[in-house]
């Protein structure tokens, strides 16, 4: 006869296969995603490949080029139907691409390296923002003119963000109280001794509009400058369907070149999708984006270019900031310029 205790364990043991099945499910879901080239699509001349592009945040200026490619018909012309999925605070772009839930996503270079250190096989294929838009916004009346002078303030940053760990390593931050980033500029406006993270084309504009006196201090001035708003895909997609990657990269390259030149229609679309982004902030945003995308070395014809040097530097900085372990990633595997137009290689 079973004692009550053994009975209890007996019923527990029935649950175990269920747990195993659940884990098995999540594993097999990667295999059940539709094959990139199914037979019917390959046979019909007017075939359209349907793919998804996951954004890392709500649609805003940093995604302009990806939407411009859609509005101007570059995806369709290449025979690809792209559904752009808006992101948010928990967009999980790295995970979704690695799991095969989406074919492409938008991320930053440091996310690609931390993702690869965690075992996600994602690869950067196109980098529109050469300069990181990441800034720390301080009050003008604080008199702080560079990140090295940051002291005696409350500083709001996202816990664990790579740039934040780097900043903590590089700047003494005397009497700086670090608090979680609240997601808006309210505290900044209320407190003259408050500094916070931002994207140079977004938060400073909001703060100014509300009557604040923001000064944006660029984190890239410290030397931490990951490529941003980059297009990523999985090693699997690159291996199984390189042609798709080539088509999409070509389309977004045109999209970005056109967005920087003529942003009006795209901004209107962004504003419809994300009414919180007014046309005024988007207009400001695209002007602020131009110097980040087009630099002295990278003119507009080289849109999307990446160099091994930059990836190596970033990996070294992440190791120094203890965001990733030494030897956990090979930077040369984290990106490829193979799919970029010849002018950008």
């Amino acid at each position: 006869m079973m004692t009550p205790v053994t009975k209890r364990f007996f019923s527990l043991s029935l649950l175990l296969p269920l747990a195993v099945a659940l884990i098995g499910c999540s594993d097999s879901s990667t295999n059940t995603s539709p094959p990139p080239n199914d037979v019917s699509a390959a046979n019909s001349p007017a075939s359209v490949e349907k793919i998804q592009l996951q954004l890392n945040w709500f649609p805003e200026a940093e995604h302009g080029g990806f939407y411009a490619a859609d509005l101007n018909g570059h995806y369709t012309a290449a025979g690809v139907e792209v559904t752009i999925l808006p992101g948010g605070p928990n967009a999980a772009v790295i995970q979704k691409v690695d799991q095969g839930d989406v074919e492409f996503a938008v991320a930053s270079a440091d996310q690609v390296l931390t993702g690869r250190a965690g075992g996600a096989k994602v690869v950067a294929v196109f980098a529109p923002l050469q300069m990181s838009p990441r800034c720390i916004m301080v009050h003008e009346k604080s008199g702080i003119k560079s990140l090295a002078e940051l002291k005696g303030v409350t500083l709001a940053m996202s816990p664990g963000a790579a740039y934040a760990e780097f900043l903590k390593k590089k700047v003494p931050l005397t009497d700086v109280k670090i608090v979680p980033y609240p997601g808006n500029v309210t505290q900044f406006l209320l407190d003259d001794n408050y500094a916070q993270q931002g994207y140079v084309f977004s938060e400073p504009f909001d703060a100014k509009k509300e009557g604040g006196d923001p000064v944006a201090l660029m984190v890239s001035d410290l030397g931490f400058n990951p490529y941003t708003s980059i297009l990523i895909t999985s090693e699997k997609t690159i291996k199984e369907n390189p042609e798709l990657v080539r088509k999409v990269v070509a389309a977004v390259t045109k999209g970005w070149q056109e967005y920087l030149d003529q942003p009006e229609a795209t901004n209107k679309r962004l504003n419809e999708l994300n009414p919180a982004m007014g046309l005024d902030v988007l207009e400001y945003g695209v002007e602020a984006l131009k110097p980040l995308c087009v630099t002295e070395e990278i003119d507009i014809s080289k849109m999307g270019a990446m160099t091994p040097q930059r990836w190596n530097d970033l990996a070294a900085q992440l190791i120094e900031a203890e965001v990733i372990d030494s030897g956990s990633v090979k930077p040369e595997e984290a990106f490829t310029t193979e799919f970029l137009p010849t002018s950008a290689k």
Binding site: V5, L12, L16, D27, D98, V176, I178, V179, P180
Partner: protein, 275 residues
């Protein structure tokens, strides 16, 4: 029953200990075993489900930081829980004294239960600043309600005949409250405290997420956010396990103290119900 034979009683104590600790340990071994086998048979990316030994390794490599974080979060939870207990009992005392007070204040007590902390976090920061005080407040908001509602139920559900008996002997309101209602409410209070013990840990962690601080003093909540942002899932698991251990420790203490307290008043300790 008696302890005239020390050997027998030691053996009994031992077997009682095994009965208590054995089942959860066995379950732990089974869960870790299945986890180990599954992660070694399938190729699951580390960020999705790390192997048990990777979690152990992450915890060991970061043991100093993890212990510090556990200590800080423990302080926040224990203070939050203790204050909830005191405030909750005082409010329940007030509620038990008049239907009018109860009716007018109950809706606001329920407010505590339903208020989305995320929505009022900016307000809490504005009032109390980032840091310990604000985290404590979040912990209290989350863990107060079960104490109020359970204790109130206990205080007012006293047998009317007993109240009449006390009145017959000219007992004052205060005497009835302390000598009749409160002892009667103790099991209810303890049930409320058991629910709140876990909630106070959740409150401390949520508080660290929303109104916390991060540079010199790192709590488990911060560690969870950081690990999650950096896709260090093994470290995330270690932090989550540490917070679970903290919750279990507080719950276990409340449970043990509760049983001891009730043992003086009732003949059915809640021991059998909650293990």
């Amino acid at each position: 029953m008696s302890s005239s034979r020390p050997n027998a009683s030691a053996a009994k104590l031992f077997s009682r200990g095994v009965n208590w600790i054995g089942p959860p340990i066995l379950l732990f071994i089974i869960v870790v075993g299945v986890w180990f086998v599954v992660t070694h048979l399938h190729e699951i990316p580390k960020y999705l489900l790390p192997r048990p030994e990777q979690v152990f390794e992450a915890a060991w490599n970061q043991k100093g930081m993890l212990a510090g974080a556990l200590w800080l979060t423990a302080q926040e939870s224990l203070c939050g829980f203790g204050l909830s207990l005191v405030i909750g009992v005082v409010i329940a005392f007030a509620f038990s004294q008049s239907v009018f007070i109860r009716r007018s204040c109950y809706p606001y007590a329920i407010f505590l239960q339903t208020v989305p902390i995320v929505a009022i976090a900016p307000l809490i920061i504005t009032w109390f600043g980032n840091g310990f005080k604000s985290i404590l407040l979040v912990s209290i908001i989350l863990s107060l309600f079960p104490i109020i509602t359970n204790t109130t139920t206990g205080l007012i559900s006293v047998d009317a005949n007993l109240v009449n008996l006390f009145r017959l002997y000219n007992a004052s309101r205060w005497q009835i409250l302390l000598k009749l209602r409160f002892p009667h409410a103790l099991p209810y209070l303890i049930t409320g405290a058991k629910i709140s013990s876990g909630l106070s840990v959740i409150g401390a962690i949520v508080g660290e997420f929303l109104v916390g601080y991060s540079q010199t003093e790192i709590g488990l909540g911060y560690l969870i956010l950081q690990s999650s942002a950096q896709l260090k899932t093994a470290q995330l698991f270690a932090a989550v396990i540490a917070s679970a251990v903290l919750g279990i420790a507080i719950f276990g203490t409340v449970n043990a103290l509760g049983n001891r307290l009730i043992a003086n008043w009732t003949d059915t300790p809640s021991d059998n119900v909650n293990g």
